[in-house]
C-alpha cells in the first residue's frame, strides 16, 4: 500500500559547511542520512527523521538544521495536521498509534498560572548564602502525636516511628524500568541519587545485581507484571513502590516489545529472551482496596516492616477518594502521577486524553486527607511534568512532600522529547537496549549531569524559600498562603485552594 503520510520534518544541510565527515550517518539510528557516493554528497531521507537533534548536536561544522515540513494541509483548526496524519496512519496499519513521553497537548499547565510570594519589611527575607536553609525531607507515615516518658529525669521517646526515607532534597528520580532504558541509564541515576542523598526508582523491570550496592538509594517497584520481583530484590531497596497506575497511561498496562528484551533484560525480568513483556492493566490480585491492603502488608512482611511501602496511582477524577483508601490500607507514601507523566510506550489516545493535571489532583488529595485527619499518616510524592525548581516549590506549597522527576532527568542526560522511545532506537542511548547504541550514554557523564541539575534546582529552591522568609522546607509544605493564582476561574482557585493574585 502506498503511504500517503508526508515527512513531518525536513533536514536542511548547509553544503558550504558540510565536510562529508559522515558523523551524521553514524549518529542517526533511523537511517536518515546516507552517502551518495556517485555524487560524493550526503543526502537525507526526511520521512525517517524524528527530530531528535542527535545529528544537529554532533555535526562538527554545525551544518544541519531540522525544520517542520513547510508543506501544510489546507489550514483547518479542527482537522489539524496531527489529526489527518493519525487517520492516514491508522488507515494504513489498522493499529493503535503508539507514542512515548508525556501528554504534549496545550491543556492547562497550572504551574504557570500560580505565582509565589516574597517577604518584605514586616518579615525579613533570608539569604541562603548566609543562613542555613533546610531541604531535608523525611518520607513515610508519621504518628499523630509523640508520646514521651520520663526515666531518671531524662525524656525518652515512647512512640516508635514507622520507617522513613531521608531525602536531602525533596526531588527523587522517577521510575524508568530496566528494559525501557538500558543499564547505563540506571547506573547513572543510581550514582546520582547516592551522591545527592536522594533516591531513584528502578521501575517495574527489576534491578540489575550490579546496582545492589546503591540499594540504600533505590526504591524498588512492584507492578502488575511482577517482573524481577523476588525476596532479595525487595530487601535490597530503601523502599518498595506498588505501581497501580501511571500518568501517561492510566488504566492500562505496559508492553515492552520483544526486540528490547535482550539476554540481560530477560534475566532480570525473569522471562525468555525476545518475548514481549506484558504488564496487565490491573494487578490480577488487586480487584479492590482490601486486596491492595493485603499486598501492602505482604510486602511489609517480606521486608520485616523495615521499609516504607509506597503506592503509585495515576491522577484521575476520583484520585482523592482512592488516595484516602490507600492511606487507610496502610501505605506509607502515596505517589500521584499527573497527565503529563511520561512513558516509554503508550497508545497516543490514552496518553493525550486520560487523566487530569497533577496540580488539581494534588490539591484535592492533600485537602481530602486533611479533611479526614489522616494527612500525617502518609507522605505525598507527585510526578508528571515537573520541569523546574519553581514547579517543585509550587508542588510542595500545594501539599506535596516531595516530587519525582522523570522527563526532566532524561532531558538532563540528552533526551529531546522526540517521543519515539517505543522504537528502541533512541539515538541518545537512553531508551534503547541495543548494546551498541547504549554505549553512547556514558554513565559518568550522565551522573554528573543529573547531579548538576538537582544541585542547581536546590540552589534555586533555597533562594525562593529564603525570599519567602522560610528556612526549612517543612514550613512550605501545604503552605498555600504562599501561592496566588492568575488567569484562573473561581472554581479552579477553589480546587487549588489558593487565592487570586491581588487578594
Amino acid at each position: 500500500m502506498k503511504s500517503y503520510i508526508e515527512p513531518e520534518f525536513i533536514v536542511k544541510r548547509d553544503y558550504e559547511k558540510c565536510v562529508k565527515c559522515k558523523v551524521c550517518i553514524n549518529e542517526c539510528t533511523y537511517g536518515v542520512h546516507y552517502y551518495d557516493d556517485k555524487n560524493d554528497i550526503i543526502r537525507s531521507r526526511d520521512e525517517n527523521c524524528v527530530n531528535c537533534h542527535r545529528c544537529v548536536v554532533f555535526c562538527p561544522t554545525k551544518a544541519i538544521t531540522i525544520e517542520k515540513n513547510p508543506t501544510q494541509y489546507t489550514e483547518n483548526s479542527h482537522w489539524t495536521r496531527e489529526v489527518i496524519t493519525s487517520i492516514k496512519r491508522q488507515a494504513e496499519t489498522g493499529g493503535a498509534i503508539l507514542t512515548g513521553m508525556g501528554c504534549d497537548k496545550p491543556y492547562y499547565t497550572y504551574w504557570d498560572k500560580i505565582l509565589l510570594n516574597a517577604s518584605q519589611v514586616t518579615n525579613p527575607s533570608i539569604d541562603p548564602l548566609r543562613e542555613p536553609i533546610e531541604l531535608r525531607t523525611y518520607l513515610g507515615a508519621k504518628p499523630d502525636k509523640l508520646e514521651l516518658e520520663l526515666e531518671n529525669g531524662e525524656v525518652l521517646l515512647k512512640t516508635k516511628l514507622a520507617p522513613q526515607l531521608c531525602a536531602e532534597v525533596p526531588i527523587l528520580f522517577a521510575a524508568v524500568s530496566y528494559g525501557a532504558v538500558n543499564f547505563n541509564v540506571h547506573l547513572a541515576l543510581a550514582r546520582a541519587a547516592a551522591e545527592l542523598g536522594t533516591f531513584m526508582n528502578c521501575g517495574e523491570g527489576g534491578l540489575d545485581k550490579r546496582l545492589y550496592r546503591y540499594g540504600d538509594h533505590i526504591i524498588v517497584q512492584v507492578a502488575s507484571g511482577r517482573f524481577g520481583v523476588n525476596p532479595e530484590y525487595l530487601n535490597v531497596g530503601a523502599a518498595i513502590e506498588i505501581k497501580i497506575g501511571q500518568g501517561a497511561k492510566p488504566g492500562i498496562g505496559g508492553h515492552l516489545p520483544g526486540e528490547k528484551v535482550t539476554q540481560e533484560i530477560a534475566q532480570i525480568r525473569m522471562i525468555p529472551v525476545g518475548t514481549d513483556a506484558l504488564s496487565p492493566a490491573p494487578h490480577h490480585d488487586i480487584y479492590s482496596i482490601e486486596d491492595l491492603r493485603q499486598l501492602i502488608y505482604a510486602l511489609k512482611e517480606a521486608t520485616d516492616y523495615t521499609k516504607p511501602v509506597a503506592v503509585k496511582i495515576a491522577a484521575v477524577h476520583n484520585s482523592a477518594a482512592i488516595a484516602s483508601g490507600i492511606a487507610r490500607a496502610g501505605a506509607d507514601i502515596i505517589v500521584l502521577d499527573g497527565v503529563r507523566g511520561a512513558t516509554g510506550a503508550a497508545p497516543k489516545v490514552i496518553r493525550d486524553n486520560v487523566g487530569i493535571p497533577i496540580e488539581l489532583a494534588l490539591a484535592s488529595v492533600d485537602q481530602r486527607l486533611r479533611d479526614e485527619g489522616i494527612r500525617n499518616r502518609v507522605s505525598i510524592i507527585v510526578s508528571g511534568g515537573i520541569r523546574s525548581s519553581a514547579d517543585v516549590v509550587k508542588a510542595i506549597a500545594l501539599g506535596a512532600d516531595a516530587v519525582y522527576i522523570g522527563t526532566a532527568a532524561l532531558v538532563a542526560i540528552g533526551c529531546t522529547l522526540c517521543q519515539k522511545c517505543y522504537t528502541g532506537k533512541c539515538p541518545w542511548g537512553i531508551t534503547t537496549t541495543d548494546p551498541q547504541i547504549s554505549k553512547r550514554l556514558d554513565p559518568d557523564v550522565a551522573a554528573k549531569r543529573l547531579i548538576n541539575l538537582v544541585r542547581a534546582w536546590s540552589i534555586e529552591i533555597k533562594e525562593m524559600l529564603g525570599a519567602m522568609g522560610i528556612n526549612a522546607i517543612e514550613s512550605l509544605r501545604g503552605n498555600r498562603e504562599q501561592l496566588r493564582g492568575v488567569g484562573l476561574t473561581d472554581t479552579e482557585l477553589k480546587i487549588l485552594g489558593i487565592k487570586m493574585a491581588g487578594e
Binding site: 533546610e134 526549612a472 503552605n479 498562603e481
Partner: protein, 385 residues
C-alpha cells in the same frame, strides 16, 4: 471556606490571610502568687509606644476571678445585636451559666467604636458533655461560636483569667476596661502596629484558648502550613492571625498531646539538621522524631512570644532570633518584654536581666504551683523546668 465547609472567615471582615504587624509585648508575673494591680504592666507596655500605633492593644490577667476560679470565664465580643441573642441561646443549651454580665467600661476613654463585651461564668452541662473532657467540650463550643455565629467572638475561655482587648493604645484600652479595678498575679500585655488592616477589635491581641494565652510579635512565614495542620485537629483560625495559630498549637501540644514546654519550644524553634546530625544517637533520634512528626508546627519566620497558662509564663523567640526579647528578675517579680527599657521603667534595679537566644525557652513558674489545681500534664518534676 476551608475544605470542611467551616466558614472560618465569618468573623473577620477583612478576610486577610494573616495580620501583618509589629508589636510590643510585655509580661509580668509574681512568682509568689501575690496579686497586683494594673499600674506597672500598663506603664511598661505604654512606654513602648514606638512599637504600637494605636490600632490594637490588650491584656490577659491570670488570678483574675478567684471567686469563680473553677468556672470557665468566657469573654465574648459582640459585633452586632443578633450575635448576643444567638450566642446566649447556645450557651444556655450547652452550659450551666452561673453569671452573665456586660464587662464594665469607661466611656470617657479614648477608643473608637467599641463593641459590647460580655463575660459569662459557665460549667459544661454534664448531661451533654459526656465522653469528652471538659476542656475539649469548651473548645468545641468556642469554635462553634467563632465559626458559626456572625459577629460573635470568644476572646478568652480559661478559668480564673480573662482577656481585655480592643482598638486603641494600651493605656486607652486599660482605661476603657477599668483595669484599675482588677488584680492578678500575672499580666500579659500587648501593643499592636498592624500594617495591613485597619485595626479591628477582634484582631487585637493577646489571643487565648482555654488556659493558654499568647502575646506575639512577629509574622510567621509558615502560617499557611501551621494553620492547615491545626485544622486537622479542629482548630480554626477565625481571626486569621499567626498569633492565633501559636495559641492553638500550645493547646494541642501541651494539653492534648501532653508534651512538656521545653519540648514544645523545640517544635516551634527546632535545632537545624546539621546540629541534630552532630548529636549523640539517643538525642539525635529524639530531635529527629520531633521534626518528623511535628514539622508542620515549626514556627518559621520572625516571632517573639510571651505565652501564659495558670501558674506559668514563658518567653520564646524564633530560631534566628529575628524579634527582640528580654527577660528580667527582681525578687519575686519575673518580667519578659520586647525591650529592656520597659522593664527598667517599672523596676530600675534588677537582680538579673538577659536576652535569651533564638529558640531558647524561658519559663517562670509560681513557686506554689503544685498547691494549685492546674491541668495535670504529668510533667511537674521534669528537670528541664
Amino acid at each position: 471556606m476551608n475544605g470542611m465547609g467551616v466558614n472560618v472567615s465569618l468573623n473577620n471582615p477583612y478576610s486577610n490571610d494573616k495580620v501583618i504587624e509589629a508589636c510590643a509585648i510585655f509580661g509580668m508575673m509574681d512568682l509568689s502568687g501575690r496579686r497586683f494591680g494594673f499600674r506597672d504592666p500598663v506603664k511598661a507596655i505604654s512606654n513602648m509606644r514606638e512599637r504600637s500605633n494605636g490600632l490594637g492593644a490588650g491584656f490577659a490577667i491570670y488570678g483574675l476571678y478567684p471567686e469563680h476560679k473553677d468556672d470557665y470565664a468566657l469573654h465574648i465580643m459582640y459585633l452586632n445585636r443578633n450575635a448576643r441573642e444567638k450566642t446566649e441561646k447556645l450557651l444556655e443549651q450547652n452550659f450551666d451559666v452561673l453569671k452573665a454580665e456586660e464587662i464594665p467600661t469607661d466611656p470617657k476613654a479614648y477608643v473608637q467604636s467599641p463593641p459590647p463585651i460580655w463575660r459569662y461564668f459557665v460549667q459544661p452541662k454534664k448531661s451533654i458533655a459526656k465522653n469528652i473532657s471538659q476542656d475539649d467540650y469548651v473548645l468545641e463550643n468556642v469554635m462553634k461560636i467563632n465559626t458559626g455565629i456572625r459577629g460573635a467572638l470568644v476572646i478568652s475561655s480559661g478559668k480564673n483569667m480573662g482577656v481585655f482587648k480592643g482598638v486603641g493604645f494600651p493605656e486607652d484600652i486599660a482605661e476603657y476596661f477599668c483595669l484599675d479595678e482588677y488584680e492578678g498575679y500575672m499580666w500579659i500585655c500587648h501593643g499592636r502596629f498592624p500594617t495591613n488592616t485597619p485595626g479591628w477589635w477582634g484582631g487585637s491581641q493577646p489571643f487565648n484558648i482555654l488556659d493558654w494565652t499568647v502575646a506575639h510579635n512577629g509574622e510567621l512565614s509558615s502560617y499557611g502550613a501551621n494553620r492547615r495542620y491545626l485544622e486537622m485537629y479542629g482548630y480554626y483560625s477565625t481571626m486569621y492571625t499567626d498569633s492565633e495559630v501559636m495559641v492553638y498549637a500550645l493547646d494541642l501540644l501541651v494539653r492534648r498531646h501532653k508534651l512538656p514546654l521545653e519540648v514544645v519550644a523545640k517544635i516551634f524553634a527546632p535545632p537545624f539538621w546539621f546540629e541534630i546530625d552532630a548529636m549523640e544517637p539517643k538525642e539525635r533520634n529524639f530531635y529527629m522524631a520531633l521534626r518528623q512528626c511535628y514539622g508542620s508546627l515549626l514556627m518559621n519566620g520572625p516571632f517573639a512570644i510571651i505565652a501564659a497558662r495558670t501558674g506559668e509564663m514563658i518567653g520564646l523567640a524564633d530560631r534566628l532570633k529575628l524579634r527582640p526579647l528580654t527577660v528580667a528578675i527582681k525578687g519575686d517579680l519575673f518580667y519578659i518584654s520586647s525591650e529592656e527599657s520597659a522593664i527598667r521603667l517599672v523596676a530600675p534595679h534588677l537582680d538579673k536581666v538577659w536576652k535569651p537566644r533564638g529558640g531558647e525557652l524561658v519559663v517562670g513558674r509560681l513557686k506554689t504551683l503544685k498547691l494549685l489545681e492546674i491541668p495535670q500534664s504529668g510533667w511537674e518534676d521534669e528537670k528541664l523546668y
